[in-house]
Symmetry: C2
Subunit: 397 residues, 2 copies
Amino acid sequence: MPRHRRTSVPRWCGYPKRVTFPVVGMVGGGQLARMTHEAGIPLGIKFKLLSDTPQDSAAQVVSEVVIGDYRDLDTLRDFARGCDVITFDHEHVPTEHLRALEADGIPVRPGPDALVHAQDKGVMRARLDAIGAPSPRHRIVADPADAEAFASGVGGFPIILKTVRGGYDGKGVWFVRSPEDARDPFLAGVPVLAEEKVDFTRELAANIVRSPHGQAVAYPVVESRQVDGVCDTVIAPAPDLSEELSGQAQELALRIARELGVVGHLAVELFETADGRILVNELAMRPHNSGHWTQDGAITSQFANHVRAVLDLPLGDPRPRAPWTVMCNVLGGDYPDMYSAYLHCMARDPQLKIHMYGKDVKPGRKVGHVNTYGDDLDEVLERARHAAGYLRGTITE
Amino acid sequence: MPRHRRTSVPRWCGYPKRVTFPVVGMVGGGQLARMTHEAGIPLGIKFKLLSDTPQDSAAQVVSEVVIGDYRDLDTLRDFARGCDVITFDHEHVPTEHLRALEADGIPVRPGPDALVHAQDKGVMRARLDAIGAPSPRHRIVADPADAEAFASGVGGFPIILKTVRGGYDGKGVWFVRSPEDARDPFLAGVPVLAEEKVDFTRELAANIVRSPHGQAVAYPVVESRQVDGVCDTVIAPAPDLSEELSGQAQELALRIARELGVVGHLAVELFETADGRILVNELAMRPHNSGHWTQDGAITSQFANHVRAVLDLPLGDPRPRAPWTVMCNVLGGDYPDMYSAYLHCMARDPQLKIHMYGKDVKPGRKVGHVNTYGDDLDEVLERARHAAGYLRGTITE
């Protein structure tokens, strides 16, 4: 992208008065694309979206939208024309399509060689092993009997089975208590990864952003609390995390990003174990739910830094702006009219930050999140929980 | 807008799962509309834009854009259909058109009776006099001779002459040193307002936001520094401003908003005089350049609060997040490629906040601004000035 490098043309000569801001092509119209667009507006960059439908979260707020199927190479190629770089709202674009775009000369960030580690849990585990990054014990298993054999090698059931591709938010993951439980994961015909059930005390996430020329910034390590396999609450920074473990987690995420050649935002989801270790649970190579707190709690948000990274711009300061920031997801409940709940939530807490995605309410669906920040963790946590619960309808006063 | 009030339908009944978020219609496609859209995205509201051209600053980033002339009532009426409320990027929509929209049942915020005070400086001065708000000595003058007579009544030339309508950023304003200088302002055939040349020590701005049901929030009073009649630097809060004068300025702005029935953001530009008084210079009823610092420096930005106000939502906390925030405008210079300057600016200052408007660079044109914040005013000021100067091209290292 030489167009956005300072040229040697003297600044005082009559250089044409053309705006030379780059075009970022975003594949996928979900809330991550929506919030990345929001973060890109102040930078003056152009944003072009490939979205499944015009009703998608990001398609509602972006000017230049192409409706099409990201699984179709011709669609991707047409979309990529006129983009200076391609990035993603999700990890589902086939690797071979990404290679084709690269061969066409379009920078793809993160590139296919990195992204495959977020697409395929088998590839990810093998690579983490190769670079010495700590994982739960694991191996690809061939069938339910093989899963049982794996279980007996790690102290017996329960174990975790995952299809290596296609899972997210708890989908594609099975908590397996017995040989009978081990059948379902194999029905899809996708390779199945078995992992030991880790005796973890909590889940952490180490979020970092890395640019093509290798600059990287690390956000404070956060605690992530899940309900029914879906992220519910994120606390930044993770309370009572030792400086040593926090540093280890950040260094691990930076090392994974470097070794895998990640460009953009990388979320490393971690287990903290009772005996004081951290183990890698999942990788995500895009802005991530565990980084939403940065929109209001960090000097530079994950979304702004993701945009800067994919454009190979210097990265922004990742440090927090408040002692504590809490993010709570707003899930769809039985009552669809979340807007009317704004009156109570905003009147009760004038510092509350609401982020809604423009999605129709369906029970259990992530339709937004709230951020709160302040000096006292209990108070900050209570405010976020109340707002998320009131918006969902589980708290009514 | 009953659609966004919590209804009496019990939350547990099978109410249709429809998204009931309102549509805000924004008239005018400039940077204020662009940044208001940006601030509206997290609220999940729909944003519809009436813009002169598809290249306008806001039209580049908004999904639903109508290209049309805001001076044409039929265009406005078509645009307003499907909007829950109409608000503005500028003050140029004819008052009678706004009344027609109101008669059609569309809420217009601010309404025509308030907005006329920001459209017509003669009406504004008369109203400020009536409510006892302090203005420079002034009166409408009929011709150059009358202007000379006004001058002799306020201690002689220089005086200020202003056309009552159509001016902004120093346009439509004349610094008149002699009877000969007094001719130009009358050439446009618009009534001319004469004002004494105030012996001010600096300019301040008191920014407040008011909602239809009368809730209001006041931002810290800022110092605004002009160069050639155009805002150059804003410092929040105004350094060395006495608590008494600061309180007076905020109360004055709140009183003006209440008396004039303003809804949304009101900027009251003020002169601080050598003898410790404040006098009203100008009013603006929309987000304002003197409030751009709030994007990164306040808990709730002027743009977010403007959206909340026009929707009659509870307002957000206006307090600052840092001891000092500085905004410097980025004006067009001789070198058009501002994007390449990002490399240096971002690398030099990872905390810098750049806000570009997507506008072509023309010398002297406002094409963006930068915000910096921190504990030490001198350092914060230097960072903002350096970035704005480097982007413009007046600083080259």
